[in-house]
């Protein structure tokens, strides 16, 4: 992008989990996007992407929510959010809802092309190659499923994390295996989910890492919640917090010392 071009206008999709549990990730996203030269706005009219309804088979309710999201966000050049799973719902799945509604389908497709998960947006669209941040840790990275398989998020966060000073990436086995979160799955089938997250924790521990990084708060809360229940010292952060140099506060699930 040339210096004279107008900066792209980005509507930040905060996601409901970040809104409620971890505002820091939202602010970290704003910082990263602004550093990359974007003009960021956070529309107050946003709520949820509709995924809980979609994955529960309620296509009608999802359609209503999807229309609302599109109406709020289509005026920006891009809709960007710090979650592979929400952004995949918007980018890859909204069109499933409008198969029988050609005018909306066209609108959905025009919108979908401009929807991005934060890390892939920064690298693939804005060409960010490095960040100015420091975080001393030996960390392991969990590839959350939607981002990985529906949006192709794999190398982007790793490449940027490599530029963080003091940071060392230590891959775990099976980083691409689901952590057992799965939205409502984890409350509907708690025993299976518990087994899956327990296996995941074993892989994290075996890597020898002291920190766990990922790009989806739902998964991070799942793994962090299990780590905390088992009394493990591994700290959990969202990628954006590390890259924005905003991981100074308590980790996800850690007690605020104030």
């Amino acid at each position: 992008m040339s210096d004279h071009a107008k900066p792209p206008r980005v509507g930040l999709f905060v996601t409901c989990l970040v809104d409620l549990f971890r505002p820091n990730i939202g602010f970290a996203s704003i910082k990263l996007l602004e550093q990359a030269g974007c003009e960021v706005d956070v529309p107050a009219q946003q709520t949820c992407c509709g995924q809980p309804a979609f994955n529960s088979g309620d296509y009608d309710a999802t359609r209503r929510i999807a229309k609302q999201v599109i109406e709020v966000f289509e005026k920006y050049d891009y809709a960007v959010g710090p979650s592979g799973s929400c952004m995949a719902t918007m980018r890859a799945h909204y069109r499933d809802l409008f198969e029988d509604d050609p005018p909306w389908l066209e609108r959905v497709d025009r919108f979908g092309e401009r929807v991005y998960e934060l890390l892939s947006f920064l690298t693939d669209v804005m060409g960010v190659a490095r960040v100015d941040a420091g975080f001393a840790a030996t960390a392991t990275y969990h590839d959350s499923c939607s981002g990985l398989r529906e949006l192709g998020v794999k190398q982007q966060p790793r490449r940027l994390l490599e530029s963080v000073s003091g940071f060392r990436l230590q891959e775990m086995d099976d980083s691409e295996v689901c952590c057992g979160f799965g939205g409502t799955f984890c409350v509907k089938y708690p025993e299976i989910s518990a087994r899956m997250v327990t296996d995941k924790i074993a892989a994290i521990e075996a890597s020898g890492a002291d920190t766990l990084i990922g790009g989806d708060l739902g998964c991070l809360m799942n793994m962090g919640g299990r780590l905390s229940r088992l009394g493990k010292p591994v700290k959990v952060y969202h990628t954006a917090e590390i890259l924005a140099d905003m991981a100074g506060g308590p980790a996800i699930g850690e007690v605020d010392a104030e």
Partner: protein, 476 residues
């Protein structure tokens, strides 16, 4: 059709999770399958293109299935064989029983066939006084144990070697094998010796089909034990059971799918035995059966051809989806409660036995998508499972509790101002509940979560609340 126990899914999960032998067997099997597939795929540079070609072949065949079925039938007849059409399991069993009775069969050998499980064939034959001898090692093991397959290509996957050793020791004494064997090759050898006698006794041999080839009426089966060959050549009558989706237009097409199948299933470039059977023995043939019959089973397949589940008919039964499924890996195949387990089974079972019976199956999935990413014909399994959830929702079959929770959430999500207030209220309330610990060990309505995990407490203000302050600060 065998009766389904899929409604017991949730009930049977805890015992499955607690079963240590099962865990040992599943971990070993999944690791092995995943590693071998990965290696085979990485050694085949054009695998993605091959996958695409496989998908195209299947889609094309399904779009013209009537044509290819007709062509196949005529070719089989030209080769001197017979094709029988079964609309459902009941008809299929009747046809096969009649064929066995006409052959005065007392003993039947069987190669591996999931369709024969689907139609409940063994039970029907045994009820008529016909002894069934499974010749695939895995099938043989579970038959001996009185169980059902837990995996579509490795039926005894859920058993450890020690369990097989105990089983053989208990059941093979009557054939004069008294020594307890513990090593795999010795166990296989003992089973071989027992089975070999069966081939000589059998009047009828029943096999499945991996591909039915329309251009020449051939049936292709792949095995690693050669039992399929013996089953089909030694008996006087050879019966093939297959679903109508097994059709492919040409031998060339079958070889494309074969390359995908073996790599995806066991990570092999080629299975040890790839057998083509065309019909009864011709005069110049050194061996072969006197009669050759193909029983084509429909069940719900024609229905699927016409609805949103057609892509599921591309399935070539390789098992990769279950090998890579973390839920299947955790609970094993039996809790799925019917013939087909894992991701593909979670689609097929509700379509066959109904969503009332198998409503848990499409839901017991995180939609992580690993199954689709390894499926050799790229079946959108997560999407199909979601479509089943949609059916469930639209016919009121989902649970009342989850309906209510969902309605509340979507009502909130549709009202941004109210939503913002509710979230802020939630942030404060949860922070209070958590107290100084900063995390929740128990939380109303989230027992499923907090039984094994803490719930991190919110910071006390939502992002939106903080962002409003932040913007005001910036303006000042």
């Amino acid at each position: 059709m065998p009766t389904a126990a899929s409604h017991l899914f949730k009930q049977r999960v805890p015992a499955a999770l607690a079963d240590r032998d099962l865990k040992a067997a599943m971990d070993k099997a999944q690791d092995g399958f995943i590693g071998k597939r990965e290696q085979a795929v990485s050694q085949y540079p054009g695998f993605e293109a091959l996958r695409e070609l496989g998908r195209e072949i299947k889609d094309h065949t399904l779009a013209h299935l009537d044509f290819y079925l007709d062509r196949y039938e005529r070719q089989v007849q030209r080769n001197g064989g017979h094709v029988h059409w079964a609309r459902n399991s009941n008809e299929a069993r009747t046809i096969i029983l009649d064929l066995c009775k006409r052959a005065n069969a007392r003993n039947v050998t069987k190669g591996k066939s999931m369709v024969s499980e689907e139609i409940g064939l063994n039970g029907a034959l045994e009820e008529s006084g016909i002894a069934v001898h499974e010749t695939d090692l895995g099938e043989y093991i579970i038959q001996l144990a009185g169980e059902t397959p837990s995996h579509i290509i490795a039926p005894a996957l859920h058993k450890t070697k020690a369990q097989v050793s105990d089983l053989f020791h208990a059941k093979h004494q009557r054939y004069g094998f008294h020594q307890r064997l513990t090593e795999a090759p010795a166990l296989v050898n003992e089973a071989r010796q027992v089975l070999r006698r069966r081939y000589l006794d059998a009047e009828v041999g029943i096999t499945g089909a991996n591909f039915l080839i329309a251009e020449n009426g051939s049936n292709m089966i792949v095995t690693n034990e050669g039992n399929g060959d013996l089953t089909r050549t030694m008996a006087k009558v050879h019966i093939v059971t297959a679903g109508i989706e097994k059709l492919v237009p040409t031998l060339e097409d079958a070889t494309v799918l074969l390359r995908l199948l073996t790599r995806s299933a066991t990570g092999q470039e080629f299975s040890a035995y790839t057998t083509l059977s065309n019909g009864p023995r011709r005069e110049e043939d050194p061996d072969g059966p006197d009669e050759y019959h193909v029983v084509l089973v429909d069940n719900v397949r024609t229905e699927m051809l016409g609805n949103e589940f057609r892509s599921m008919l591309r399935c070539i039964r390789c098992g990769a989806c279950m090998n890579h499924c973390p839920v299947y890996g955790a609970v094993g195949g039996h809790v799925y409660g019917w013939v087909y387990p894992g991701p593909m089974g979670s689609v097929l079972t509700p379509l066959n036995v109904g969503l009332e019976e198998a409503g848990d199956l499409p839901n017991a999935c995180t939609l992580n998508g690993r199954c689709q990413s390894v499926c050799p014909v790229n079946i959108p399994l997560p999407d199909l499972l979601r479509r089943l959830r949609r059916r469930q929702h639209e016919t009121g079959l989902d649970s009342r509790y989850s309906r209510a929770a969902l309605r509340l959430w979507t009502a909130l999500a549709a009202r941004p101002a109210l939503y913002r207030r509710a979230m802020q209220w939630g942030a404060v309330a949860m922070k209070r509940l958590a107290g100084r610990r900063g995390r929740l060990r128990r939380f109303p309505l989230a027992g499923g979560w907090t039984r094994s995990r803490d719930m991190p407490a919110p910071a006390g203000s939502t992002f939106q609340t903080l962002y409003t302050l932040y913007k005001e600060g910036r303006r000042r």
